[in-house]
Symmetry: C2
Subunit: 420 residues, 2 copies
Amino acid sequence: MSVPHLTTALTGPLLDLERKILAAQPEIEHWFRNQWQEHTPPFYGSVDLRNAGYKLAPVDMNLFPGGFNNLNPEFHPLAVQATMIALEGYCPDARRVLLIPENHTRNTFYLQNVAELAKILRQAGLVVRLGSMNPEITESTTLDLPDGGQLTLEPIVRMGKRVGIAGFDPCVVLLNNDLSAGIPAILQDIEQTLLPPLNAGWAVRRKTQHFTAYDKVVEKFAALVDIDPWVINPYFEHVDGLDFHSRAGEDKLAATVDTMIEKIRIKYEQHGINQVPFVIVKANAGTYGMGIMSVKSGEELLGLNRKQRNKMSVIKEGMEVHDVIVQEGVPTFEQINAAVAEPVVYMLDRFVIGGFYRVHTGRGIDENLNAPGAHFVPLAFASPLSTPDCDGSPDCEANRFYSYGVVARLALLAGSLELE
Amino acid sequence: MSVPHLTTALTGPLLDLERKILAAQPEIEHWFRNQWQEHTPPFYGSVDLRNAGYKLAPVDMNLFPGGFNNLNPEFHPLAVQATMIALEGYCPDARRVLLIPENHTRNTFYLQNVAELAKILRQAGLVVRLGSMNPEITESTTLDLPDGGQLTLEPIVRMGKRVGIAGFDPCVVLLNNDLSAGIPAILQDIEQTLLPPLNAGWAVRRKTQHFTAYDKVVEKFAALVDIDPWVINPYFEHVDGLDFHSRAGEDKLAATVDTMIEKIRIKYEQHGINQVPFVIVKANAGTYGMGIMSVKSGEELLGLNRKQRNKMSVIKEGMEVHDVIVQEGVPTFEQINAAVAEPVVYMLDRFVIGGFYRVHTGRGIDENLNAPGAHFVPLAFASPLSTPDCDGSPDCEANRFYSYGVVARLALLAGSLELE
């Protein structure tokens, strides 16, 4: 069904939304084909989804995905094929890629992700070397990986309008570093193809800009499939001018939360949903699950203690938070071994290349799962025999994961609008 | 490695040729990227390979592959992704496809192939219906499939400059019928996109034209990888003006065979190969394993008995053979459970999407395996753990199947030159 036929944690009959999406599949794929004629997809991306049963929505879109190690190795051929296609679009003449990872040298899970990504690029026929911007990497440094392999980081060097490493002049520079700390001078004004572009980094990017673009995408898509846009789109608001240390803006934030809780309550009534509304307050440029709170009323944000305020005020690379997105909370319906789980869908170019579940045993269905203690369960290819017919014809099987791939691609399309 | 990482029947150390191809992988992929900028790949194709250890060569290239049912179902996501890409190239606006199968209604294995192909197209987001040119199909006809499913054939109709079926006007017409019987009037001068084009059918196509194009491809590729072109290219000659019934041209054919046997003997001596040379004589427009002989000298072709002459003289759809390709025989090195086997590689657009082994328990290593009694063993994805490192680095594994994918893509490229 145009996305890998994967298993999900859900069982039971298809939800209304899933059924509508499956039925409209030829129109949806046709629509996506046209969209990708007009908009260039990001080189890669991952989308965190929440499936509440009545609602299936993206809650975050990452343009520097860091979990390639969590994908099922069986997906590699898909990723390799997608890489080849992406290359043809960006730079058909490419032979050598410089991959720039995050500066972590002790997060071995992250390093394993880098190793998997490098493997995909190599399998697509590229010569790949790893250029580190970490000031501690002053010479070629080989690190051990959890799987028994190794990874060699080399210091990145600038030569005129080009970056590379000593003795290696790449055609393409691929960032797996989200530039949370700002845009480094060494990457400015280079003549090589830089993927994704510098404005994709968190130094520039804002979640509220992404969800503004997502609103536009959803508006068109909801009309195509004839659904209430809300069932695939969480409400959001932008609140800035905050200072968690001095409590500046606390009242404004609390009022925004309360207004949204009320909007959600009205929707829940309309749709007959028996849930307690909640919202997620997130740093607008945040990542790595830092600077996030789940609240059920504005009051919870008044009088935060020092520890809570510290937690909200500082994100990756020690950046201060003055600017948040208040986002409708979507409870997750999915569980793996009685632990709450949310699907993460991986895309390369315009193709879904796989996914996994982020699982957290210690968290509730209304909490952020991208937090210490989370673990990952790779999604497997679904056996065609394990899924029921979707229309009684023998060669059309209901593919539950298809809907996940559609919603993830809507977020990817929003990412592409955002970068334009 | 840019082709699915598949298992092959071979074990043991990599052969010289395989090692050279693996080492040149970035250059090879770069070269293919450039080739596909200049040449449009056929919509799909399959290539029969022979691996003799000292030689890995295509012996036939089919532009209407009929064994999608023999592919591992795990490959479907790759095929679906490749279909989406092909569509974007040919006809981004496509929604509805008319698939035209062969006229067989009792060959259930073939019908299962059609069902699998239709499934791939549907999964790529197309509405697919099957239009039959079989005069016996005068109304919608549902046939049972070996896997318990069903397939519905409908009579193809012409409406002005368009073909379709009653109530269904397709954007794209996909042939899975090799047009052995000639180009049907109903398909001439249609305004819809027809894939592959009519000149890909056996009514027009000749194996010698394919191998002439393959010569050109190999010349460039052998220089790139620095190999003797012969190790990936079987000798061939064209002999026409034959009439097996009246024995016309028998001497010319025998003399061509003897000359080629002598050329092969010289190559075998050069390379220190201890094998008895043989050649394959095949109908130049033939398919389905019909009209094929394996001989070790020209003499074997003199004084054929009536049965042998009948076998050589008539191919699919009762077409008479006047024109053959004399092709260097490449013995197969590969065995599955002590039966001789040859790999068949499937491609869609420019991507390898899988493959299988054609296995024949009753045949020798120097015989044609595409014959009654053959069975098929799908190739599985290789486990990354089962293959040794190719250079000691942890993220580069030797992929034996990679060489097969490269040689198959060379033949695909020849197919593309042939259609231009």
